[in-house]
Amino acid sequence: MRIFRRCLWDERMTLLSWAGILIAFALFAVSTYEQLGQSPGLSTLMENLPPYMQALFGGLDWSTAQGYLNTELFSWLPLLIAFYTGLYGASALSREVDSHTAETLLAQPIRRWSVVLAKFGVIVTGTFLLHLALYATVVPLVPVFIKGQSLAAGPTLLVTVSSFLTSLAVGSLALLISAMVNDQRKATVYASGTIMLLFFVNVIGQISSKAKFLTRINPFGRYHSADILKTGGIAWGDALFLIGFIALFLAASVWWFERKDIA
């Protein structure tokens, strides 16, 4: 618990910065609705897009606040926050080894898995706080900036939960990279590359029916904000997949870190 508290406290400025970025992004998306979302040209453009491109944006009506924000904000949300979880996750353990603090830390009477869990706890808390900040900003802002419209609190909450699980899945993958790679810089590069690769592989899977299978094993492929907003419910299969993914990669991180040489 002490390691968790220490690491979370050390992360406070980074989290505040990320929260600021997310809130600014949400503000930008909401405030541009009247200019962009209600532009007839853009609606026509969207209607004329090929079906696979329309599918990428979830097939929601752009002229509504919900449809516009899904395209401009929610569809990018897990990628944005995955960069936070990925970058923190990648450096969480590798920084300790790279800067030789792990040697002193692990010479204390503590279990190695407790260090991994503490770092994972910071990822969970950070990811939760960022989503909370976004949710708490965007839902009340919509009626203020977009007259006569609002975001349904329940479905938006479910989108946020789905994004939370997706970003966390990426964070757990980055944590495994961090457990495996001693060099913090290398771990960060590998994690960033993996995040981008997963995202683009998912895009390819969404566009091409032959590559559809790629989305099934990909955390980003299990995030369907448009469907949640349309149906008002979360696909529990996707949620369970993401929880399983997180558990698997967390367990792998613990296993790897337990057996590695700290040198």
Partner: protein, 358 residues
Amino acid sequence: MPAIVAENLTKFYGRTRGIENVNLEVREGEVFGFLGPNGAGKTTTIRILLDLIRPTRGRAAILGLDTRQDSIAVRRRVGYLPGEPGFYDHLTGEEYLGYMAGLRGGADPSRRKDLAQRLDIDLGRRIKALSHGMKQKVAIIQAFMHDADLLILDEPTSGLDPLMQHAFYELVRVERARGRTVFMSSHVLSEVEKVCDRVAIIRGGTIAVVEDVETLTRKRVKKVQVTFAAPGAPSDAAPGAPSPAASEALTAALTLPGVRDLSLKGDTAVFRVETTALGGVVKALAALPVTDLTIENPSLEDIFFEYFGPEAAAEVARAGDGDESAEMGSRGAGRGGRRASRTGARRPTTGRGGRRAR
């Protein structure tokens, strides 16, 4: 019960050997030196003892507890100073030590304060603002503050100035007096001699010898360089040939027991002499026209030469840390020494590192 037992400890990194069949027994209450050049396997052995790295084969026990099976219980009773300590630079020394103490359920703050006073450090400053030597002091406090039964210290005086080295040696003596066991690695022979009861010399990943420090001291030889006044050297003598005075000294020195490896060039004689025979040599030289006399303490390289022959000494020299004076020079302590002589810019030894007379 021994404080540390290592049985056939072996570690390979892929095909590269870290250590092989290291066998050690450190008694409770003693200060044990672990001496060897860089890359000999000191840190690998220490990390295995702390379960930071896992041996390829062999086992180790600390205070009767298996270092793998009972690693938490072991670490609860060990204070550890790493060779390259890492810090959370944004913390102050006090915060860092508080964090580390907290991981053990707390440490007596008065002990931390006392250690800080002895080592003359302000723990209120951020670690990133501290010099290398100051950071080393924080690391030393971290190792000592837990009041552990066993202290494992990897190159503990690295970066400390001579004054602080003395303060550190005093800390070690106090711990020994309190019945604690200290296991410290070093490549500085004189340091080990100052505080250790016994010493193990590790070479190429294997323990080459375990000795009482007294025995080691008795066996060690000092290197003597004498320059003689040489007025009127024979004009027909070949360049570099011994002068008559030097020849006379050579004859005198040769008859003394414990003197060997004599070489003579011009007015200067260089030889090795056993510590026990040093008094006789100085007495014999006093009767001669000596203009310069330098007596060097043996380096680790010299000790390796004594024990294992010239090849081993060359290994130490290649490792780049074959002598304490070079090490101390790099720390700014200015003891002079062998590195200077290797590069042809010999500096006379002074102070603790040797004696000089004119």
